[in-house]
Amino acid sequence: MMRIECPWCGGRDETEFHYGGEAHIARPEDPDALSDEAWADYLFMRANPRGVHAERWMHAQGCRQWFNVLRHTASHEVVAVYPMGAPRPDHPETAA
């Protein structure tokens, strides 16, 4: 069981949250201009690091707000919580 620090409600159990996939995937400005390969890359290709991963979470059984989390995929340690729209914080273990 992970504990996640909701920026509004404080620390809560993982089961109160929904996972929203990798963070910072920007929708292409002009999808029509993309090759099939580039579009598929946007839709389907995601990082899968053994280490710190930037991802979106939503406090579904609480305030229902979305936010970003840096989580270590091996230890499940939540190393940072930051608002939607904010850049990914620097972290020593961050391998981009």
């Binding site: 509004w8 409600c9 809560r12 109160e16 305030c63 229902r64």
Partner: protein, 162 residues
């Protein structure tokens, strides 16, 4: 033994909006300020999110709010039929809740509230003081929540440990 009862007749309104104009208009219409700190509430207005509140009253709030907020980007929804209001009280009420809730209930005092899961069902908890808890549950979960709580009451020890 703890006791569970359903409270009928309350008018529940979900109010959404943000910004100084919104907050000022709401305060003027209601006669009090909306709570701004997460997980706080006055009993009449409970914080649900940074731009969302549950209003609890004996009278319809939607009319005055619609007038006060005309032209503003906001949502005013009567959810009286959508939520069941339960009240759990008596000796061991907090222990009954704690047996199905991972949230630490000890620090919760009147003036606070918390949305969390009770036996996996979404619930808004409001401590009313003296070990009395008000629970706002989705109507479709109410029968389940009631049955679960009645079971949990029956499973509590008859007397408190020394």
């Amino acid at each position: 033994m703890a006791e569970l009862r359903e409270i009928d007749g309350l008018i529940l309104t979900v109010l959404r909006g943000s910004g100084p104009d919104f907050l000022a208009a709401v305060a003027a219409a209601l006669g009090f300020d909306l709570p701004q700190a997460p997980n706080t509430g006055t009993g009449e207005a409970l914080w649900l999110g940074p731009d969302e509140w549950l209003l609890v009253s004996g009278e319809d709030r939607t009319g005055p709010l619609e007038t006060a907020l005309a032209g503003q980007h906001c949502a005013i929804v009567d959810v009286s039929e959508a939520r069941a209001v339960l009240e759990l009280s008596g000796p061991g009420a907090t222990e009954v809740l704690a047996s199905g809730c991972r949230l630490d209930l000890e620090p919760l005092r009147p003036g606070s509230c918390a949305q969390t899961a009770l036996a996996r069902a979404h619930v808004l908890l409001e401590p009313r003081g003296d070990g009395v808890w008000r629970l706002y549950v989705g109507r479709s979960f109410a029968a389940y929540a009631r049955a679960w709580i009645e079971d949990a009451i029956a499973l509590q020890p008859m007397s408190a440990p020394p």
